[in-house]
Symmetry: C2
Subunit: 149 residues, 2 copies
């Protein structure tokens, strides 16, 4: 079950400038920042609100760290803007398996490490009405059912 909008991923050319835009315009502050070498991104998470399932919703600002990263290629094609959306679930492994069984392409064989030690996977945008869609289980939000993974 997907229980929240976990985040909206926004691709940008200059992370510091974009962080400053969101701070100066709306008052949003950086909750967490990190570099994900595997994804080839430098990112900042801005927490917007708590959610009814005990989690939270964030904006995830993404700047590519190398030319061959998927975000760099996406930016070259589309320019800055919304790159993906993410739904939160207590068990990304089970959700991904269930959705894959419905014929939607899941991009990772196994979920990988995402922001703030979350566990994530992505669904193919061509199978999701043009929307690159991420599924995420936050660190510490795994259910007992998911602990076998």
């Amino acid at each position: 079950m997907l229980t929240r909008i976990d985040h909206i991923g926004i691709a940008c050319f200059d992370l510091d400038k974009t962080v400053e835009f969101y701070r100066a315009t709306y008052g949003f502050e950086v909750f967490h920042s990190e570099v994900n070498e595997e994804q080839g991104v430098r990112e900042a998470m801005l927490k917007i609100n708590d959610t009814g399932d005990g989690g939270a919703s964030y904006l995830q600002l993404l700047e590519p760290t190398r030319e061959d990263s998927t975000v760099a290629k996406w930016l070259a094609k589309n320019g800055e803007g919304v790159h993906h959306i993410a739904f939160g679930t207590a068990d990304v492994d089970a959700q991904a398996a269930e959705i894959k069984a419905k014929g939607i392409r899941v991009l990772y064989e196994e979920p990988r490490r995402g922001s703030m030690d979350s566990r994530i996977t992505f669904l193919h945008p061509k199978d999701c009405g043009g929307v690159l869609t991420e599924l995420v289980t936050a660190a510490g939000q795994h259910t007992e059912a998911a602990e076998g993974h």
Copy 2:
């Protein structure tokens, strides 16, 4: 103050098909649907979660009702995908004025009626890192400060 991700607006060519995709794939149900003649859209709101400010986060699925609507033009250029994001606030009028004073272009002179009798305005995507950004006050969520409007 912006206190939640109110919704993610997703543009599609066929609303019924897209509603069915979100139901069959994730189990999301239609919470509300309407036609907004002014915006030239037929839309479905799928409630995803409650938010800590007493509101909720939705997916808003949008199908254009006429060729000259902004969503129809956007779809012709971009294809299906994320069209805009929306932040919730208790006072859209005050927030829009504050943001306009910072030099961001606000698209409406006065906020207009949005989904579910909300009060909305939009910020120019070129001033917001490529992200068409909506501000929304839900019906019944106006603060006392906003009641003068």
